[in-house]
């Protein structure tokens, strides 16, 4: 078996004409060593090996020009405590696992290298709670997506997190098969009849409710959709949430149930002995533990490497998304995506998506490997998105764009979630390779990780004091005038608007600065309150938010950051450049 796979992989390598590559295999994991001429080759080789059915993981150590070796940070050896389990990574996956583990009587520590939770892929996706209809059949991500989607309503209610079943149109148009040179009456027939039929049948098989709708019905319900639409399948249970709200809520609820969350704490090494996890070394000190969950997203392979448990390589896949002014939030009634074949490099998915906040988003893209090193958005990306999604709503006023961002998907070469205990190190559990639909799947991912931990021997006794509910945060703009009045009576700061565009009050900002996972920088406040997410993008409220953070935390105004340690908003006090600043105050 192993030899057969190895032969296949070697064949792929030879086909690409690379001599400088050695291949080995262990426990179903393919290991590449050597070098290739470019990042495209690096990705192609990895993906080709990952496609082989019995390959569990691909560790791609191939060097290509420009591949950066990360500088290792210095950890602190000093013991700062012991835990039954350490979770690495404070994204949606790590925080969900932490919250679910807090149902048990365990000493749990979550370590996160950033200043806040939800700062990686969690904050930069299109917030869809997919049903699973779009995933490849038989994958782990499909299974967990279907399960996770069904678990959303409950957790959203418990934690007071926005969750809407916004519904989703999967639409075929004249563009669906335009790429193929077939007579249009045939293409139209396939788009009108056959494709919807296939989608419906798949839905039926998976237990996902779907309804077939003809062109007339679609245009009646969505008058702004292109007249070139041919048919649609409607998925009524498609949902949307707010990924950072959910993650913050999970983290807070976990903390209230006893989990310790260490922010600004980067893992620098994981000590093992006799094939068992012994301790986790971080920049803040060393924690003794026998169990580690690796939910480190883009860095999961590096964390695994520290434990000697490297069973996959993460290769980031960038996606860009555009956000439009709320003024046009009612332009469509449900989210929608265009089925277009072949699925190009740029658009494997994505769509015109409603958000829980009333904005419309277009995207995300899927970008070529040479451009995945950073989170910049190129004008090409913006144009591509405009062009592609204009095929669905051609008259949408694109000039009401208010923001764009890119996120990096933490993909493995096997293109599936990698959730299992390490074959190499006992007590080390991977929750890695979580890309779309990772948000939708997250409740099921957490559940699966818990069952793996149980099998690994983690003793899980019920925490009798577990409280699944989180206190409802104040969201001023959503209240009735009577409720607002009452709130202001309790605390006048709720009567003071600091963000005009989103109607966020000073009271809400102060609340999140003093919340269990405190918002200590401008972006952290923005993610929790929406201050700065509106049409002026913080031009008005940024100085005010920075001032409030400074006042509430005692950090001098000129030291307030945007989102990370070195993202200083200001370079000093006024007159500091004239050499007078230091004398003042």
């Amino acid at each position: 078996m192993k030899d057969m796979v190895l032969k296949k992989v070697e064949k792929i390598v030879r086909r690409h004409g690379f001599d400088d590559i050695s291949v080995s295999m262990e426990n179903g994991v393919v290991y590449f060593n050597g070098s290739v001429p470019s990042v495209e080759d690096f990705v192609q080789i990895g993906l080709a090996a990952g496609k082989i059915k019995t390959v569990r993981g691909v560790v791609n150590n191939l060097y290509y020009p420009g591949r950066k070796k990360k500088k290792k940070k210095q950890g602190m050896e000093e013991k700062i405590g012991a835990a039954d389990i350490v979770i690495v990574g404070g994204g949606i996956t790590g925080c969900f696992i932490a919250r679910e583990l807090s149902r048990y009587d365990l000493n749990i520590i979550l370590v996160e290298k950033a200043e806040d939770v939800a700062t990686g892929a969690t904050k930069a996706n299109n917030a869809m709670v997919h049903t699973g209809i779009g995933e490849y059949m038989g994958t782990l991500k499909q299974k967990l997506c279907i399960e996770g989607h069904l678990m959303y309503e409950k957790v959203a209610n418990e934690l007071h997190v926005p969750y809407k079943k916004c519904g989703m149109w999967i639409i075929t148009t004249k563009h669906t098969l335009k790429h193929y040179k077939i007579p249009s009456f045939i293409a139209d027939f396939i788009s009108k009849r056959i494709i919807p039929f296939i989608v419906l049948r798949r839905g039926k098989k998976l237990g996902i409710p779907m309804q077939s709708v003809n062109r007339r019905e679609l245009l009646e319900q969505e008058p702004n959709v292109t007249g070139k639409a041919l048919a649609a399948v409607y998925s009524p249970t498609y949902g949307v949430t707010c990924p950072y709200h959910l993650t913050v809520a999970l983290a807070e609820n976990a903390m209230e149930n006893g989990v310790k969350i260490m922010l600004n704490s980067e893992v620098t090494d994981i000590v093992t002995g006799d094939g068992i996890v012994k301790s986790v070394i971080t920049t803040k000190g060393t924690i003794d533990t026998n169990f580690v969950v690796n939910a480190a997203g883009l860095y999961a392979d590096e964390i695994a490497d520290m434990a000697g448990a490297r069973e996959y390589t993460i290769h980031p896949k960038k996606g860009s998304t555009l956000i439009f002014d709320k003024e046009y939030g009612n332009y469509i009634n449900h989210s929608m995506s265009l089925l277009k074949f072949p699925r190009t490099e740029h658009y494997k998915g994505g769509g015109i998506m409603l958000t829980v906040d009333g904005n419309i988003q277009w995207g995300p893209t899927m970008e070529s490997p040479s451009r995945m090193e950073d989170k910049s958005v190129a004008s090409d990306d913006i144009e591509q998105i405009f062009r592609h999604f204009s095929l669905l709503t051609p008259d949408f006023p694109k000039n009401v764009i208010i923001a764009y961002f890119a996120g990096l998907r933490a993909a493995t070469f096997t293109e599936d979630f990698f959730i299992r205990s390490s074959e190499r190190v006992k007590g080390f559990v991977h929750a890695a390779g979580i890309q779309s639909p990772g948000l939708a799947a997250s409740p099921a991912v957490a559940k699966m990780v818990l069952s793996i931990l149980k099998d690994e021997g983690l003793e899980m006794r019920e925490n009798k004091n577990f409280n699944p509910y989180r206190k409802k945060p104040v969201i001023f703009r959503e209240l009735s005038n009577g409720e607002k009045e009452k709130l202001i009576e309790q605390n006048p700061l709720y009567g003071k608007i600091v963000c005009r565009c989103e109607q966020v009050t000073e009271g809400e900002v102060v609340d999140v600065i003093h919340s269990p996972v405190p918002a200590l920088n401008v972006d952290a406040v923005k993610r929790r309150t929406r201050a700065g997410m509106g049409r002026c993008q913080g031009a008005f409220c940024l100085p005010r938010i920075a001032r409030i953070i400074s006042r509430e935390t005692g950090v001098p105004m000129e030291e307030i950051v945007k989102n990370s340690e070195h993202s200083n908003l200001f370079v000093g006090k006024a007159k500091c450049l004239l050499g007078e600043g230091d004398d003042e105050s």
């Binding site: 049409r535 031009a539 100085p543 945007k562 989102n563 000093g572 006024a574 007159k575 004239l578």
Partner: protein
């Protein structure tokens, strides 16, 4: 509670409107900040009041003149009060630290000002690090908050706020590498180009744009490029400039979210409501003035137009406006927009038309006609898109025009 006139916004427009309205009716002035003056308190440079007071004042000085007037009047000023919604029936919901206010107003003056265009609206590619600010935000940071946004500055756009800020940065000891303007002509007033850039040796690069922003946590630099006639960047001219701060002065947008919510008709060209010569919008009893109606160059003009809005809002509340037939004003040759967009009173002695041209032109004749007949003419040495043109004419000339009047700018030779 009930009110006669409610003025929303305590900047130069709101102050002037409130003062005039109070000559005819009881006035309540709502201001979201904890002080009056709007943007003026942060405009510590001079150049205000030249026209009205025949004196060069700073922004705070100019504002103080009107604040003093308001203090002496019996205008009911509510600070830290933000309007959340306005209904068709002129019912206002506002919030402040004392609670929610529900006000039934007989007349409303919208004077919320404008906001700045952002990096996103002009689609500058790149990352999203700290150190990217609009010029107005930078102005607030330095002049009010007392913090420096950066030490090596690149500026995109040559609007007036930007030019003022280029100088401000230089005065603070920051290095302003250059001001880059997409258009082949500067966006700000000539006097600002001279006083803010030339006098400080700050280079102005026309027909340039930014094609990339680099930096993970803080801005590390920007890529600039020359643009061709269709405003597309020319790849070969790209040049990377290390800097720690990007300032944007790429235009102002009238803030009309409340206006739109009421259902007031908005002129796409100005970004503000269609208004008549009283500054009354399409919704009876709701007036708009200052940068809500259209973006002005000079605060003096804001004051003058807002005084009209205030006067007529006061008269409206007191039940004293009479309407004559409607006259539509068409923006004709080389005219981008005209405010007011229509007339319906003809009860004022004179009417002031404010407009902007599309193209720069020298030695022009501004012609106001009813199609066939020339009603009024005015010569101008030069007209430029960044500089608002103003024509004052007797109202009486506009009677008997058959309801249609147009303004054309006839150039001898166009540049």
């Amino acid at each position: 509670m009930k009110a006669e006139v409610v003025v929303i916004g305590g900047g130069p427009a709101g102050l002037a409107a409130a003062l005039k309205a109070s000559e005819h009716a009881d006035v309540m002035l709502l201001e979201r900040e904890d002080e009056l003056g709007g943007i003026l308190p942060q405009c510590i440079h001079d150049g205000f009041g030249n026209f009205i007071f025949n004196e060069m004042m700073t922004g705070p000085e100019y504002a103080q003149h009107f604040i003093d007037g308001v203090k002496k009047s019996d205008i009911d000023v509510r600070l830290e009060t933000a309007v959340l919604e306005i209904g068709m029936d002129r019912k206002i919901v506002a919030t402040n630290p004392a609670g929610i206010m529900e006000i039934e107003a007989r007349a409303i003056v919208l004077a919320m000002g404008c906001r700045e265009r952002t990096r996103n609206q002009i689609l500058i590619p790149g990352t999203r690090p700290a150190g990217i600010y609009t010029a107005g935000t930078a102005q607030r940071l330095i002049n009010i908050e007392g913090v420096m946004p950066g030490r090596k500055i690149v500026m995109l756009g040559s609007g007036d706020v930007g030019l003022i800020m280029a100088r401000r940065f230089a005065l603070e000891g920051a290095e302003v590498e250059g001001v880059y303007e997409l258009l082949p002509k500067p966006g700000g007033l000539t006097r600002n180009i001279v006083q803010c850039l030339d006098d400080y040796d700050i280079p102005l690069h026309l027909s340039h744009t930014i094609t990339d922003i680099k930096g993970k946590e803080r801005v590390e630099g920007v890529t600039i490029a020359r643009v061709d006639e269709s405003m597309s960047p020319i790849k070969e001219t790209e040049r990377f400039i290390p800097c720690d701060c990007l300032i944007l002065a790429v235009g102002l947008i009238p803030e009309n979210e409340l206006s739109k919510q009421v259902g007031i008709a908005i002129d796409k060209r100005t970004g503000g409501p269609f208004v008549d010569e009283h500054m009354e919008t399409s919704v009876p009893g709701i007036f708009a003035c200052g940068n809500v109606a259209h973006v002005h160059d000079l605060v003096d003009d804001v004051t003058l137009a807002s005084e009209i809005a205030g006067t007529y809002a006061g008269k409206y509340a007191a039940g004293k406006i009479e309407e004559a037939g409607r006259v539509n004003i068409t923006a004709g040759k080389n005219v981008r927009y005209v405010v007011p967009q229509f007339l319906r009173g003809l009860d004022m002695d004179s009417i002031t038309f404010y407009f902007r041209v599309k193209e720069e032109s020298e030695d022009v004749n501004i012609v106001i006609s009813d199609g066939d007949r020339i009603i009024f003419e005015k010569r101008e040495m030069v007209v430029k898109p960044p500089e608002m043109v103003k024509v004052v004419m007797p109202s009486s000339l506009l009677a008997n025009t058959g309801g249609e009047v147009r303004i054309d700018v006839e150039g001898k030779y166009e540049k």
